[in-house]
Symmetry: C2
Subunit: 195 residues, 2 copies
Amino acid sequence: MGKRPGGRSARVRDAVRQATLTELAEHGYSGLTVENVAIRSGVHKTTVYRRWGSAEGLIADALELAREEPWPLPDTGSLREDLREIAGLVRSGFADPVAGPISAAFVSAAVQSTGPAQALHDFFAARHEQAAEVVRRAVARGELPADTDVADVIRTAVAPIYYRLFITHEPVTERDAERAADAALAAARAGVLHS
Amino acid sequence: MGKRPGGRSARVRDAVRQATLTELAEHGYSGLTVENVAIRSGVHKTTVYRRWGSAEGLIADALELAREEPWPLPDTGSLREDLREIAGLVRSGFADPVAGPISAAFVSAAVQSTGPAQALHDFFAARHEQAAEVVRRAVARGELPADTDVADVIRTAVAPIYYRLFITHEPVTERDAERAADAALAAARAGVLHS
């Protein structure tokens, strides 16, 4: 029998995913175990082991589900404002007391293990593709050169936020996020971010 | 008796540091133990425990020593070339089969533990300060606005490299590094990176 979306299999997957996210929020990647996720989700431990295998598998599956979720794409009519909103969402997401530690745990898992690294790679490929729509619109409006690498404008707009959070361990203010967005816009306008 | 630089204490510290770097290169942060560093360095285990305490302490001390090391600051007379060289050094450093895994282990340790995070923060503060000299010279030459945030030009020039390596897990080509440097220059010229 195939797995039906919305059927028992999907409900089990969602319960395990919710438990994974809660465990990540509370204990981080180093505290994530199949055992605790089984207890919290109410799904039998042998089922969790069989389908997800390990903490790595739980992370990869949670990221796969996250990738498919709708994401609030700004459409202000101005690329400057759209990029500032995207950078602002990244900043505020990590500053959020619930969502922040979960996202940070994904990043931490990915620097430690190849499974989560691949899953995070795929997650960001999807996010870049979605977010690049604001840049495509700006190209269509004639705001940017036609050969602009649209995904690279997104990378450039958010990279300094991640750099401060996960590399240099510096605070990230709203102004830092705006400035990252404005820098990406200036670079794109100057024709530096061409494909 | 005080500790003399170059004396027995400094030699022990250097032996422990070399052993720490070699262990990091071979086993990463998760494989770094006081026990193995003691064996490899030939320093007695109780001494390593007493002075460094843990893997976190070993990482923090190795970063403190790295911070004080001379660093090849480019001076080509052109900010574009200087920034490209800096971005290129970051890229090639991580691509190096020996130095790359060690640097990556520092990043990994810092996302997992607060001690290494503080040490890496201090390391980057020193590196930004050193590297910003190329931007200060460009300001003095009149290439950039006088109110340019010189450290932020450096952050902007290298952030996309770290973003690809440690967040999105994408490859980093020489062209990606050049483009990151050029984007920072365009943003600085546009006056976006002001203090």
